[in-house]
């Protein structure tokens, strides 16, 4: 009964989203203001209806109404209530509903917040957001199934079958009978990381639709001046913040739960989330140039369009099962529809861009190769290069099959080999950019600006190469390979660090001289009144820390694997802190949750003879699913993690097999992630100055925005 109500809400939302898009389009075209208002109300109603649909779905999940197919697929009776609720995004249909709901909320927020200031852009914003939404809703409201019989009549049987199947993709689809119990959620997803990861990622994905909508609106109404870029910068930052958090939490989950000692595998689904992040980051940088110098306008449009397409493409990759992957949802008819939608948006974007090229003319030309503009351009090229490499590697199986007739794959070595140096160059540009004056500079001035950071960087690299005591930081365990690139990278990190420190120091010194503040007040006020700039530096600091963790784990990781009888031990040598001794004391059994039993090995850990603690790596057995899941145990420190997995045991635990890793510097990755997020949040936070700028841009706009501040 109540499931029917949910379905009706979903269907109504679908119809209304199309109506809103049409009304906004026609209202703008024929200058019928009532229609535009009606479209706005439509947007709000869609958000309300989808909220209702989500609430109903949650109610069904919580009450274990297994007649609803989705509920039976992703939950069972034994599951704790909390996981029943989060099962909303545990499967295909539910996560699409969740995606649509977030999209509707973002669209409503964009329309409400922009109604006064950016009225002129609103109709097109409504058109773009609602059409995107309508596409997603069409997937889960069963409407594509209507195509099944016409396709059948045309003799396209496979297409017809795929479309007919779409009927069951709605989260409210009801079975003819009520199963006694459901299947339950995949145990791997029963972890807090997997509970917050998808919503964060979806918020990021959905968030990027808004800047795209504004970009299309600005283009089609020729409002390509200062206003739209200021308005969407904030939206882009918000989306970017969520996407970054989603990526970081995803890495954390992979590291803590999947039990292979890594956090990033260049898996297609990971790449799907990384690619829009890369182009979005490029956009966030080059948009600064447009604000300051009125340049790169076409480029910025292109970047935001690519980012939007990648968001849709990413959703497609995770859902279509086109490339085999750890997290891909099952294969379905969704794939071709997504590809069609991406294709259509790309074509429309390119045509629109082409028609409006004249209004995107650059206000200045590039002056010199040695200028901040040029460094930003280089930074953009690098981000795009990394994106392209990732894209190529991700679709390579498909490309090779099409071109060579034989499916071939490229794995992590490919991505590391090509993206590694590119990321290093990116850190370099990140270090230099804040020092570079706008427009042009003289070599002498540049040398003065760069002197200290360069000296510090070189000293680090040379110090690591020459000092015997420091060799452990620079030499791969057991070899002398890659010593130069790795030490060079450390030098690069120090260089960047000094630049950031210098920037803070300069700001503080100026304030002290001008206003006579104490060091701490100066620092606080500096950050408070220039949130964007210093938030940005904080993000860069986070990147340096993350890079430290990435180098540590990529080059200095140690692993070993042993089978032990009770009382036996093995050793594993850390490149940084000393040798660990791991002693197997026996197995223990415990009950973790109503439906989960844990078998854990008790391990005594010592380092250089000193007791560090006990670790209990284990295996959780999920009774309902009859599935075992490995639970790693870790000993954390700032220098490294000791990471141990119980791989198996024999004869009731008389012997057991372990896999152990030393993960040098890994925790800097997570700390850096926090700093990164903090910096972004700081930059997003509205400042009075920024608000005034937007207000100025609005008042200057009138009917046509041309002025630049």
């Amino acid at each position: 009964m109540i499931a029917d109500l949910g379905y009706v809400a979903l269907l109504l939302a679908f119809v209304l989203s199309i109506f809103a898009a049409l009304a906004a389009w026609l209202g703008e075209r024929h200058r019928i203001i009532e229609l535009v208002f009606s479209a706005r109300n439509g947007v709000l109603a869609v958000a309300g209806l989808l909220t209702l649909a989500v609430l109903i779905e949650l109610f069904l999940l919580l009450n274990s109404d297994f007649r609803v197919m989705y509920v039976a697929q992703v939950t069972n009776r034994a599951m704790p209530a909390f996981f029943k609720l989060t099962a909303l995004w545990g499967g295909q249909a539910g996560s699409l509903l969740f995606w649509s709901w977030l999209m509707a909320l973002f669209a409503a927020a964009a329309v409400l917040s922009g109604w006064q200031r950016t009225r002129i852009l609103m109709p097109k914003v409504i058109v773009v957001t609602q059409l995107t939404l309508a596409f997603f809703l069409s997937l889960i409201s069963g409407v594509w199934a209507l195509l099944a019989s016409p396709l059948e009549a045309l003799g396209m049987t496979t297409g017809a079958a795929l479309m007919a199947e779409m009927e069951t993709l709605t989260p409210f689809y009801q079975l003819a009978f009520t199963p006694v119990d459901g299947n339950g959620l995949n145990p791997l997803l029963r972890h807090w990381g997997m509970i917050v990861h998808p919503p964060l990622l979806y918020l990021g994905f959905v968030g990027f639709v808004i800047p795209f909508a504004f970009a299309v609106a600005a283009l089609s109404t020729r409002q390509t001046g200062d206003l739209w870029i200021r308005v969407i910068r904030r939206w882009t930052l918000v989306a970017w913040l969520f996407l970054s958090m989603g990526l970081l939490v995803g890495m954390w989950w992979a590291y803590g739960v999947l039990g292979w000692g890594g956090y990033w595998g260049w898996d297609p689904v990971e790449n799907a989330a990384l690619m829009p992040w890369l182009t979005g980051t490029a956009f966030l940088h080059s948009v600064i140039i447009q604000e300051r110098r009125g340049m790169f306008k076409v480029w910025n449009m292109v970047l935001i369009m690519i980012t939007y397409s990648l968001v849709i493409f990413g959703t497609f990759l995770t859902r279509s099962g086109v490339v085999s992957s750890v997290h891909a949802f099952a294969q379905s008819g969704v794939g071709p529809l997504f590809l069609g939608f991406v294709g259509a948006t790309l074509i429309v974007s390119v045509v629109l861009l082409f028609l409006r090229l004249d209004s995107l003319r650059s206000e200045h030309a590039l002056d010199s190769l040695v200028s901040r503009e040029a460094i930003f351009l280089l930074n953009n090229l690098l981000f795009l290069a990394i994106f392209f490499v990732t894209f190529w590697g991700t679709i390579f199986p498909v490309v090779s099959e099409l071109l060579a007739g034989q499916k071939a794959i490229v794995g992590p070595p490919f991505f590391n080999q090509v993206n590694g140096p590119l990321f290093a160059l990116l850190v370099l540009t990140m270090g230099i950019a804040p020092l570079m004056p706008w427009r042009r500079t003289s070599p002498a001035k540049l040398a003065r600006l760069l002197a200290w950071p360069v000296l510090a960087g070189l000293a680090t690299t040379l110090g690591l190469l020459v000092t015997p005591a420091m060799r452990q930081f620079a030499v791969l365990p057991g070899t002398s390979l890659r010593i130069v690139p790795v030490t060079a990278f450390y030098g690069l990190l120090v260089f960047t660090l000094v630049v950031i420190g210098q920037e803070f120091w300069r700001g503080i010194r100026t304030r002290r001289r001008a206003i006579g503040e104490t060091y701490w007040t100066a620092l606080l006020n500096l950050v408070r009144y220039n949130r964007r700039r210093y938030g940005g530096y904080l993000v860069h600091l986070g990147v340096v820390m993350i890079a430290l963790g990435v180098i540590g784990t990529n080059f200095f990781k140690v692993e070993t694997q042993r089978n032990l009888a009770q009382g036996e031990s093995f050793t594993i040598a850390s490149p940084l802190t000393g040798t660990y001794t791991v002693t197997y004391e026996g197995l223990s059994a415990s009950i973790v949750a109503e439906d989960v039993r844990r078998t854990a090995a008790v391990l005594k850990i010592t380092r250089e003879g000193q007791l560090v603690g006990m670790l209990q790596p284990g295996q959780d057995f999920f009774i309902a699913q009859e599935q075992a899941m490995t639970t790693p145990a870790m000993y954390h420190s700032l220098a490294e993690d000791l990471y141990i997995i119980l791989a198996g045991w024999e004869n009731g635990g008389a012997t057991a097999t372990f896999k152990a890793y030393v993960e040098p510097l890994i925790n800097w990755l997570w700390i850096g992630g926090l700093v990164f997020i903090l910096g972004t949040a700081m930059a997003v936070w509205p400042t009075p100055v920024e608000e005034r700028r937007i207000a100025m841009a609005t008042s200057a706009s009138g009917r046509v925005v041309t002025a630049r501040s």
Binding site: F329, L369, A374, L381, Q406, A408, N563, T655
Partner: protein, 156 residues
Amino acid sequence: MEEEMMDRMSYVSRPVRRNRLKFLLGGGVIALAVIYLIFTATQSTAAYFFTISELYARGEAAYDRYVRVSGKVTDAAIQFDPRDLMLRFQIADENGQTLSVVFHGPKPDQLRPDAEAILEGKFDGKVFTAQTILLKCPSKYEEEKGIVEEKVEAVR
């Protein structure tokens, strides 16, 4: 204001055009370098993805090259020696061709007859030495079509 005017005027002047050429050249060099990197890395790291029949059909050309092979785990005995971590089993494709596999590492939880296995490693003409095993098990999730995967790597 004056600066703005200067900028406008210099828009067509010669130094700017020379500048633009510099930028195009610089961008071009970077683009070429990246394409070269992609090209060489693809060549050196790409691994063919074969069925067992395809692997046999390649003959010696496929020996001792890093490849990916997929098939279903057969009913033949799965042997595992926990002391030295040696795992032996067989996979088969739809044509009934079988391949003997040896793996040095822990036995994956999901290794059982009928599991879909994707192996990466080298074939010497007799035995396939797997470096990684990726198992996709028929699962109850997502309408029986879904997959739960498990990946294990050999000891180095």
